[in-house]
Symmetry: C2
Subunit: 231 residues, 2 copies
DNA sequence: ACCTGAACACCGTTCAAGT
DNA sequence: ACCTGAACACCGTTCAAGT
């Protein structure tokens, strides 16, 4: 009687470790296989394809979310702490950020408790059946989408140009004050702290305060939406 | 005197057309080259690498944004119409959605007018230097991030399983009403209309009403933030 | 059921070499 | 400067075949 040398869990764990260490783009069926001391085709028996492998591994991250008990706080506080937990979960494995987007549509089995809890909180907040889905999508899409953009990679630098960060910085600094008054006015706060005007990924340069602003803005917006419905 | 047979613009246009037609994952330097009647290495001379090619092509989409004149409407209306324009631009080339995330950090040259206009509107709304960057990030990240998740691909189906959509649907329908009361209660509105509970991408199944809710929620949240500051 | 082993049909990219 | 042409070092995946 032979021992099984592989399992889906072991494969996904090895995948996560590999991607955390070397990045998603250098993940290779062959590299993963040799790291696990097995033939590439053995992995295929469990996951079927490379895209399914990354999808399953990314799905675990969402499934690993620890949720606060909804009864212990207001719906506003619950949304805030849950958003923080969602962001923290992705930040723990930032190289999966690009896959999170695709994963969001799938694998409800691991995310069912999350969906159930979120819907419960939204119902308790006062949203009715007609609007709860839109509000759910607002929250889930804004948080996951925002964080996946926060963690997106730097653009590929032109061949061999290792000073592109400095060049970018210089370019931003040199923008015409008469043509772009608002940008030049905001530069001290803007440089490397705003989407499209940063040269470091959120992996090394997190946008913490902006995320806090995102969540509080959405919560305040939802409060306003509830108030409008009541009047 | 020989004619140049290639140009960066022609290459990017061909790339966009190819990705629109065949999807991002089947874009190949070799396939693009043969389609342009040229050797793959000729393209390298212009773009340097494949990742830079897709990054440049995706950058054009953001650069192509048509912006309303800020003087013609309230800041609230401008944010709403601009958000719609941002979404429309990505929906025109949905197969680039995954690249948008990476692109957001880069190529300010093509997006400078957008950044300038957005900052101007936020200043005119009453935000000051200390908070305008956070608010900018809230808006840009929420809209681009949300739409890129809306358009994310379906999860890779298990090998040869062509009924996974039906299976998914059945799985959702069969969730225990006692364990998941909120999900089962919401199923009629939830099925295929909510993140993590849908089996079609936004490419074929857009989430229009949820996006409207997102934008109005953020605008309302920003109004509340302004009011809090004034008090 | 689970894995080995070999092979197929590709890839992105580099590097001369031509004009 | 711009492109050809060949070659390098890989890929994901399929398909027998073993146990």
């Amino acid at each position: 009687v032979k021992e099984k040398s592989l399992s889906l869990e072991a494969i996904l764990a090895a995948t996560t470790a590999y991607v955390d260490r070397h990045g998603l783009e250098s993940l290779t069926m062959r590299a993963l296989a040799t790291e696990m001391g097995v033939y590439p085709t053995a992995i295929y028996w469990y996951v079927g394809s490379k895209s399914r492998l990354t999808s399953l591994a990314a799905g675990q991250l969402v499934g690993d979310l620890r949720l606060a008990r909804a009864e212990d706080e207001t719906w506003q506080d619950w949304l805030v702490s849950t958003a923080q937990a969602m962001r923290a979960a992705i930040h723990r494995h930032p190289n999966f950020a690009t896959v999170i987007g695709s994963q969001i549509s799938a694998d409800i089995s691991s995310s069912t408790p999350f969906v159930e809890a979120l819907l419960g909180v939204l119902y308790s907040a006062g949203f009715d059946d007609d609007e709860v889905v839109d509000v759910y999508n607002v929250f889930v899409g804004a948080v996951f989408g925002w964080v996946s953009i926060e963690l997106s990679n730097e653009p590929p630098s032109v061949g061999g140009d290792e000073h592109w960060q400095q060049n970018f910085k210089d370019h931003v600094d040199s923008l015409s004050a008469v043509k772009y008054p608002n940008i030049t006015r905001t530069i001290p706060h803007l440089a490397n702290r705003a989407f499209m005007v940063r040269w470091e990924s959120g992996k090394t340069n997190p946008l913490e305060s902006s995320f806090v602003a995102l969540v509080s803005t959405i919560v305040a917006g939802l409060e306003a939406r509830l108030a409008a419905h009541h009047s």
